[in-house]
């Protein structure tokens, strides 16, 4: 049982007892929730944290009885104001949803119907919940709802369609819809995960103000421990369909009891960067049940090791980028086209054996820089010099030679490997293309590479769909290393991974750098990760580099307002980790 005893005399708003949820599949019922208990009082905010597959979103969906597909509550009860929602009739549920329990979904892009206007979708919510009647009144209420959600020019935007809204604006619409009927409980399922950090921060601040003012209880679901602790006083940590730890947020962060929570805290980059700021304070008993060596991932130790490595190296620039500019033609309405400058006069250099992070939000041009470096796109102007050679004019043999010295790793683990080639062939492909070695030599090299990225050798005969996201990224890294390159370009290479896996890959990258003397260009939107991996940072905004300095300088003494905004937006930045 959850030890959260009633702190007030009145009955709790929501009480979930021993909740079990299963999904019917061809191979029988797969359990997604295994006895979840939680209690929530009026006006309280609780955050549920967990990795993908932990059951956090399933818990949210089960509460309002909107489990996807073949999901079913198999046991337990969901008592909302004393009524068991698990056994309520569809009619009763329809009455409760929207009116008493609001819901803000995860992905703003897919949660609004593309064929109806924004106004239509807000107005139908208002009508369905009887908040207003009559054409004019409903319209007025819709404008009110949207303005409250922070959409300034709501009355002009009612007739527009979702695709004409940015992600942040759509999320505001969804928050408006969720809160339209002033529900007693709001379930927010990763409401801002798909958005840039600065937008995320503004929207969550706004959401917090709205729910506090109205005294709405909130269940906030997130994969980010820092974000959870920052946004809720109470924390629930889920793992494999169970609650492993719950209680006051700060106490859990400072004094985690369950080994899983300890692991999670050690691996969270947002918290790690705070902890580095507080002179690398160590957590008490992280290792006490770690299953094996590779699970003991503490990002701080990894960061320290990197600094040691760096001190021993001479600084000779491998990559020099000078006044690099890239324009794209964009078709405008009619037959005109305008130029869009994706990369605008960018200059930087990377010293051998170091890691340079290129940080920016979506659309900042950071990935275009990667493409230009890899010669997947041609620059409009400016030069890229790799080891003293200008790459612009390279063709044929010389270009092939350049490719062998510089390899990429991309973001999407599910797209990075050809699903029809087995792992062995995938890793061997660069060797074959460059005519390296005999068949047997290539096979040996594949095994060597698999060892380097800590994957079992049997995997060579298997196909990508049998592997997890993190394992696929390891294979991608092995493929990138096959030709023994000097430079690896990591384009959001860890962004799509769960925190623990992310930490594991970050450590692998750090180890490989130390071992092989690699130079990294690390492209990311996540400033928190930068702290634990990079030596130097360039912050990009709208195609330009707005700030370039060493990592410590950027974190301790940011010069630009934009950099400060990014730093403040790191989830968990506001938490005082026990000093």
């Amino acid at each position: 049982m959850n030890a959260a005893a009633a702190s007030t005399a009145d009955a709790p708003l929501l009480q979930v007892r021993n909740l079990h949820v299963g999904f019917r599949t061809q191979n029988g019922v797969v359990k997604a929730l295994n006895g979840v208990d939680l209690t929530l009082h009026e006006g309280e905010t609780v955050a549920i944290v967990g990795e993908s597959g932990s059951g956090k979103s399933t818990t949210a969906a089960a509460i309002i009885n909107l489990l996807p597909g073949s999901g079913q509550i198999t046991e337990g009860e969901v008592l909302f104001q004393g009524r068991d929602l698990a056994k309520a009739s569809p009619r009763e549920l329809e009455d409760i949803r929207g009116r008493l329990i609001g819901y803000v979904p995860q992905d703003p892009m897919s949660n609004l119907n593309p064929v109806w206007s924004i106004g239509f979708q807000v107005e139908e919510t208002i009508r369905a919940n009887g908040l207003a009647t009559g054409k004019k009144e409903v319209r007025a209420k819709a404008i009110e709802v949207l303005e409250q959600a922070g959409l300034a020019d709501a009355d002009q935007r009612l007739r527009q369609f979702p695709h004409q809204f940015s992600g942040g604006m759509r999320q505001r619409v969804l928050i408006g819809i969720g809160l339209a009927a002033s529900p007693r409980l709001l379930i927010a399922d990763e409401p801002t995960s798909a958005l840039d950090v600065t937008v995320q921060r503004r929207i969550l601040d706004h959401l917090a103000t709205l729910t506090e003012d109205a005294g709405t209880a909130v269940i906030f679901i997130t994969h980010d421990l820092g974000l959870a602790a920052e946004r809720a006083k109470k924390l629930i940590v889920m793992y494999k369909g169970k609650i492993v730890e719950s209680g006051p947020s700060v106490e859990i962060l400072q004094n985690p009891q369950h080994p899983y929570t300890q692991r999670l805290i050690a691996a969270a980059p947002s918290l790690a960067s705070r902890r580095i700021a507080f002179s690398g304070q160590e957590l008490g008993s992280i290792e006490h049940v770690a299953a094996n060596e590779s699970d003991k991932v503490d990002l701080i130790t990894a960061a320290e090791r990197r600094v040691e490595n760096l001190d021993a190296k001479p600084s000779e620039s491998v990559i020099v980028v000078d006044h690099l500019t890239k324009n794209f033609k964009i078709r405008q309405g009619g037959f005109r086209s305008t130029e869009f400058t994706a990369v605008d006069d960018v200059s930087f250099s990377i010293a051998k054996g170091t890691t340079m992070a290129l940080v920016g939000e979506s659309g900042s041009g950071k990935s275009t820089v990667a493409k230009l470096l890899l010669k997947l796109e041609d620059a409009t102007s400016g030069t890229i010099t790799i080891n003293g050679t200008d790459v612009a004019s390279l063709k044929g043999r010389a270009l092939l030679n350049l490719r062998s010295r510089m390899q990429p790793v991309f973001q999407d683990p599910y797209g990075t490997l050809d699903p029809l080639h087995n792992i062995g062939n995938t890793i061997a492909e660069p060797l074959k293309t460059h005519g390296v070695g005999t068949r047997n030599e290539r096979r040996d090299r594949v095994f060597e590479l698999l060892d380097q990225v800590s994957l079992p050798r049997v995997i060579a005969g298997r196909y990508p769909n049998e592997l997890s996201g993190g394992q696929r990224q390891r294979v991608a890294i092995a493929r990138a290393l096959a030709l023994k390159p000097e430079i690896v370009i990591l384009d959001e290479a860890v962004s799509a991974l769960d925190v623990l896996v992310q930490a594991q890959i970050l450590r692998l990258l750090a180890d490989l750098q130390g071992e092989l003397g690699l130079t990294y260009l690390f492209i990311t939107h996540d400033l928190a990760v930068v702290r634990v991996i990079a030596d130097n940072v360039c912050v990009m905004q709208r195609g330009r580099i707005v700030e370039a300095a060493t990592t410590d300088e950027v974190f301790d003494n940011p010069k630009q307002a934009y950099t400060r905004e990014l730093l403040d937006a790191i989830p968990g930045a506001g938490i005082q980790m026990g000093v």
């Binding site: 692991r263 094996n292 029809l420 196909y463």
Partner: protein, 321 residues
């Protein structure tokens, strides 16, 4: 680190920790493999093997092919040469299980001997339209730009004429040269755009995948990327479309023959027989029904195979079941 553990601090009363034995934690990202390797095509085969629809349609198709190759195994009566007007529209007799046509020919034998016509037209048409469609679709989708513009417009032009209408024109003009090859050409020349379109849109989807970019970064040439990585990943829907077009081509031949612009009456063709039989539909429906049945079953077997393949090859279609 574990040696200097802090003294246990006092936890607040609502701090709950699950008992360790109830929530054991496993290693991070441990590799766990099924017994057998799997990818799209291996999975599709495993899926197909379990489908009765696949086995039924395959068995039917093999049977149809066998009949087309060796009609003599099933009957001794020649389809054309032993026709006696005395048997006109006659009822079934021993050795002639389906009765006789107006000319007094054995219906059973005519159906068996007509199989090869339908099948060869179907096969030639899909060979023509797949080869053309794959080349056009692959180049248009993969190379993009003006190549795409030119090839897609050509495709649009051929697609804008419903293929049976186009075949009607061609066959009317070439009335003296009607044979299996000409009718197949007439149909195939106008069916390839659908193959090209399907492949093109698949390639547009696949070519932006990171593994294609990775292959470029490795230094593979554009053409090798197309052949090694892009085509194998986009060909699955083409296989489905091709199976279904085979069925459509068989129907098209029968329709053209029925209209009188297909194969001349000297050819054994179900369409011709149905056309001849239509005047006697009230008095001797069997003359019309049996060839229709043969036609429908043959078409159905390819449709069923196409459906089974679609379900097996397209994970999205599987989710729809």
């Amino acid at each position: 680190m574990s040696s200097d553990q802090k003294a246990p601090t006092v936890l607040s009363p609502d701090h709950y920790v699950a008992a360790l034995d109830e929530s054991p934690i496993s290693g991070v990202d441990v590799v766990s493999l099924d017994e057998k390797p799997s990818n799209l095509y291996i999975d599709a085969w495993r899926d197909l093997r379990r489908r009765p629809m696949f086995w039924i349609s395959s068995a039917l198709i093999i049977f149809v092919i066998f009949v087309a190759l060796f009609p003599g195994v099933f009957t001794n009566t020649p389809p054309n040469d032993e026709c006696f007007l005395s048997n006109s529209l006659g009822a079934p007799t021993a050795g002639h299980p389906l009765g006789f046509t107006k000319q007094g020919c054995d219906i059973y034998s005519r159906i068996l001997h007509g199989t090869s016509t339908s099948l060869s037209v179907g096969l030639i048409v899909i060979a023509l339209s797949s080869i053309t469609g794959i080349i056009m679709g692959a180049f248009a989708g993969f190379y993009g730009g003006w190549v795409d513009t030119v090839l897609s417009r050509i495709g649009d032009i051929f697609f804008s004429i419903p293929y049976i209408l186009a075949a009607i024109v061609v066959m009317s003009v070439l009335s003296e040269h009607r044979n299996v090859w000409v009718i197949s050409l007439a149909i195939g020349a106008f069916t390839w755009p659908s193959t090209a379109r399907v492949l093109r849109s698949e390639i547009l989807r696949v070519k932006n995948a990171d593994f294609v970019t990775a292959a470029t970064a490795i230094g593979l040439s554009r053409f090798r990327i197309l052949v090694r990585h892009v085509l194998p990943n986009s060909i699955a829907p083409v296989i489905v479309v091709t199976t279904l077009s085979l069925a459509a081509a068989i129907v098209a031949e029968a329709t053209l023959s029925f209209l009188g612009v297909g194969l001349p009456s000297t050819f054994m063709s179900w369409g011709n027989d149905i056309s001849t039989a239509q005047v006697d539909i009230r008095t001797a429906p069997q003359t019309l029904i049996y060839p229709s049945l043969a036609l429908t079953i043959t078409v159905l077997s390819f449709i069923l195979l196409g459906e089974a393949l679609r379900d097996a090859l397209d994970p999205k279609a599987r989710a729809l079941r």
